[in-house]
């Protein structure tokens, strides 16, 4: 009996260990497939053409610059929307809101995190883009701005929940000490609590930004899908095309192994590197608060 128990325990322990290591295996496999399918693009298309300004695959123009810049413009716009709203909402929830308000606000933010991106894209097409078109008198409402606003909404739950955790992690004694000195709660928030939670909030912002770079369906539906170089500030009011949307809309139609196929995988590699950098920065900011920073979930 005792012997049998030992073998089964050994088997279980081994499989648990293997599962533990599986994440490393998956990351390596993803990396392998991106590289093995993506690097041939460098052979199919000359390097200078790959980083040129024209994306028109039908005539073999594979310049991915407009796509990279498209992603950056939309991500920047989304950050401008999501950071103030997200961080301030987190401050409200963590520092000011009465218990009952917290009980309502947190599930609401979680609900937003759970809304599929196609739902936001759908509402973007039917509600937001006509509104923006009429407000700014644009020829089309499917613009970088539309994408930025909706992506901002997608980043908000991440920013709110991780910032809130960071604020909650600030020891209560800090606040008490500050209040005991005679300053108001308002001054305590700006002078003590927020600075103390700085690294956690930065992590929250980075992870929110990471989510926006990788968002696919919403941007594909509402940014107009025009792979043009964003030239000036005006680009916000013009159609645009991101890296993610390009992969999603074109991969279905290409033949496996063609130059176009390899270039799309190459774009996937670029995306992977972008998000890798953002995530490494995010995890380094608060390596000491690992437990919280891992709640990248919703």
């Amino acid at each position: 009996m005792a012997k049998k128990l030992k073998t089964s325990e050994l088997v279980i322990t081994r499989s648990i260990q293997f599962s533990g290591f599986s994440s490393i295996l998956f990351v390596l496999m993803i990396l392998y497939f991106l590289i093995s399918e993506g690097t041939p693009a460098l052979l199919d298309v000359p390097f200078s053409d790959l980083f040129s300004q024209r994306w028109y695959p039908i005539e073999s123009y594979y310049g991915i610059l407009p796509l990279i810049l498209g992603s950056l413009v939309v991500t920047l716009g989304a950050t401008l929307v999501a950071v103030p709203l997200g961080v301030l909402t987190a401050v409200y929830i963590a520092e000011i809101a009465p218990l009952w308000a917290r009980e309502i606000l947190k599930p609401l933010v979680e609900l937003l995190a759970g809304l599929p991106s196609v739902v936001l894209g759908f509402l973007g097409i039917l509600v937001l883009s006509p509104f923006l078109r009429d407000t700014f008198n644009l020829p089309t409402g499917l613009t970088a701005l539309t994408g930025s606003i909706l992506l901002g909404m997608i980043a908000i739950p991440t920013i709110v929940s991780i910032s809130e955790d960071a604020l909650k992690n600030v020891p209560e004694t800090y606040r008490h000490g500050s209040l005991a000195l005679g300053v108001t709660r308002w001054q305590t928030i700006w002078g003590v609590t927020l600075p103390a939670a700085r690294s956690g909030i930065l992590t929250a912002i980075m992870l929110g930004v990471g989510r926006t770079i990788g968002e696919t369906m919403t941007v594909m539906m509402v940014t107009g899908n025009a792979p043009v170089m964003p030239a000036s500030f005006n680009a916000l009011f013009l159609p645009i095309r991101t890296m993610t949307a390009t992969i999603a809309s074109e991969m279905g139609e290409v033949a496996a192994g063609s130059p176009h196929y390899h270039v799309l995988f190459f774009i996937g590699m670029v995306l992977f590197i972008f998000t890798l950098i953002v995530n490494i920065i995010a995890s380094n900011i608060s390596f000491k608060q690992t437990k919280r920073s891992e709640r990248i979930l919703s």
Partner: protein
């Protein structure tokens, strides 16, 4: 800052009042769209929902009839994702919480999990296409799509489960082992049951994300139009999120009613899963013994 130092207490209190009001307003600005979205979709989607809509096949190039294959497809994909990702994710979390030594390898595992969580969904789609569809020759199928979604869901399940396991007090484990239980017996009979609500929350949150995803299944298992139910894991399938994408962007002359109906059905999925999470949490909070 300079002026603040010299201003009187009364002024500071006024500033605080204004500041708090401003923060309240910003918070309302953040959550108002969420409420508006839910109300708007229910209001416009409800008239489209009928028994036929949720139980019939699409007709007339999806412009009439129901969305049954998309509903069933999403259920299959969610189930398929659960089959792969729940055992693997929970086991990985048990490893990290109960077994993993504090060394460089464990740090690499954590870095890998953070990375998996950050990889864009469309890149998962590329990976699924490369590995499952082409290399392993599973074709565009429920199997390929479920496996792709599983790997994407894994980090969510691992991190929430690990947090739930770590929340179980260390003294429980010490007592159990001192009574002669083996490590696995302790985990199986004591730690896992205690952490169950937290684990379930993580699982549901992960599956909720998988159910709503479109980009990873675009090239791995989603069918544009398939007016029958899939009858094996090797079949491609329609799915609610992809169907919504198709009827709102790819099919001209699509009746708006069907679009709103579809979006409502998809949102009901999400709402149910959110409700489950909320219920598990409040029940667990009430029953917690430590």
């Amino acid at each position: 800052m300079e002026t603040k130092k010299h201003s009187s207490i009364l002024n500071q209190q006024t500033i605080e009042k204004i500041g708090f009001s401003a923060l309240t307003l910003v918070t309302l600005l953040t959550v108002a769209p969420i409420i508006a979205i839910v109300v708007y979709i229910i209001y416009l989607g409800a008239p489209a929902i009928s028994w036929e809509f949720v139980t019939a096949m699409p007709r007339d190039g999806m412009r009439a009839g129901g969305i049954l294959p998309a509903i069933v497809g999403t259920l299959y994909l969610t189930l398929g994702t659960a089959i792969f990702s729940v055992p693997l994710g929970v086991a990985a979390a048990i490893y990290l919480s109960e077994y993993a030594p504090d060394n460089q390898v464990t740090r690499y595992i954590r870095l890998a999990i953070i990375n998996l969580a950050g990889i864009p969904s469309v890149v998962y789609g590329l990976f699924g296409l490369g590995l499952f569809v082409i290399f392993l020759n599973f074709g565009t199928s429920i199997l390929s799509a479920s496996l792709t979604l599983s790997i994407m869901t894994l980090p969510v399940i691992i991190s929430t489960t690990e947090e739930a396991l770590r929340a179980v007090p260390q003294s429980f484990r010490v007592v159990s082992v001192s009574l002669g239980a083996t490590k696995w017996q302790t985990i199986q009979r004591l730690v896992l049951p205690q952490a169950l609500p937290g684990i379930l929350t993580g699982v549901v949150l992960g599956l909720e994300r998988a159910a709503g995803e479109t980009a990873p299944i675009l090239f791995t298992g989603a069918a544009f139009f398939l007016p029958r139910l899939p009858n094996s894991p090797m079949d491609a399938t329609m799915a609610l999120p992809y169907h919504l994408f198709v009827i709102s962007t790819q099919v001209p002359g699509m009746p708006i009613q069907i679009q709103y109906g579809t979006v409502l059905v998809l949102m009901i999925f999400v709402l149910i899963m959110n409700l489950i999470v909320t219920i598990i949490r409040s029940q667990a909070r009430a029953r917690r013994q430590w």
